[in-house]
Symmetry: C2
Subunit: 184 residues, 2 copies
DNA sequence: TTTTGACATGTCAGAGTTGGAATGTCGGCG
DNA sequence: CGCCGACATTCCAACTCTGACATGTCAAAA
């Protein structure tokens, strides 16, 4: 009964918040900053969502207001029940994520463009991927990799991003070639 | 005024439908079948969405009812304006898609599990990726690759999937090792 | 002939997401 | 002292997406 109602699939925002608060208590404002920095590439969230969810999670007993500060600041802390839910989510089998991909969707309809235009699109994809790859390398250089467990996970995620962007670029370049081959 | 109102970012469902109808006219029912087969891994859609969108697109002048058939069947065809919009979407620079990834979100909070549990999660990821890779290879074998431009694009998309799953598996196995290293 | 299954469309409630606006407080700098 | 910028919360309108429900027609097999 107490396990937050609308179950199962999405709503990972909840778990993102539980995960952040499991490290240490924080206010909505603090959480926002963390969503804007470390989590921005993994799970973006807006103010309205964060504050709304704080309310729901508190009402559901997964969080509690641990302290009140200066400007109406409310510092939220995870409860034991919240920790349980976090663990449950972390250990449950992740459902195959059927992701939507507008990049691939465009690829599906590339035949409605001229070969030149289609090639240009794919080259653009390659360059975008390369650009993001560079951006991630930049991040890698600028983050001070302490030994804290936090940044261990961050490193894993970053590596995922690097590999993903490399793959995207390689695929796009391969696709350009392929398009050239079949055109003849 | 006629360019469908709520612009810009998402709503690629619209363009998926325009893309499908650009090949040949079809009913909502026909479209559903194509969303369930070829497009299911790229852009899943439900009945309610498809029929709803058919109405909106028709009202917006991007589609028209070309013919009516037996069981209330309405066959929709793309209009010139619709073709324009499709081309516009295909050639416009795709915005960097900031995707949400619940897989990575979990990775971020892996430190709230025991090393054994965390490793199990990553191994599971590797196996899921391997499974999906196999499934795609299965698809590759079973599709008859004619020369029609349709399946050319399909092949590009399929290859993307294969490379993506391979990357995911490799990354997960790497992450397991990495976790083992830092634990010591 | 009856019944089943494929064809075919439509509506709805609820959750999630976005983006913006409105409001107010405190600390420190000039 | 007065003001600005950072801190901090709350509410809202609009849209998308999901999943279920409701309804009806036609063709062919049993």
């Amino acid at each position: 009964m107490s396990t937050v109602e609308g179950r199962v699939d999405g709503m990972s925002l909840r778990h993102a918040m539980l995960g952040l608060l499991a490290d240490r208590p924080a206010s909505g404002y603090d959480l926002m900053k963390r969503f804007e920095t470390s989590l921005s590439n993994v799970w973006p969230a807006t103010q309205s969502q964060v504050y709304g969810e704080l309310g729901k999670l508190t009402k559901a007993g997964l969080l509690e207001v641990a302290a009140e500060g200066p400007r109406g600041r409310k510092e939220y802390a995870i409860t034991d029940e919240g920790r349980e839910e976090l663990r449950r989510w972390l250990t449950e089998a992740a459902p195959d994520p059927v992701r939507r991909s507008d990049v691939l969707l465009r690829v599906f309809f590339l035949n409605h463009l001229t070969p030149v235009e289609a090639t240009a699109y794919l080259m653009g994809e390659a360059e975008r991927a390369a650009g993001q790859h560079q951006a991630l390398e930049e991040v890698e250089r600028n983050v001070d990799w302490g030994d804290d467990p936090l940044s261990v996970n961050g490193r894993l995620a970053l590596e995922y991003g690097l590999r993903f962007m490399a793959m995207r670029e390689e695929w796009a370049r391969w696709a350009v070639e392929e398009l050239g081959r079949t055109r003849r």
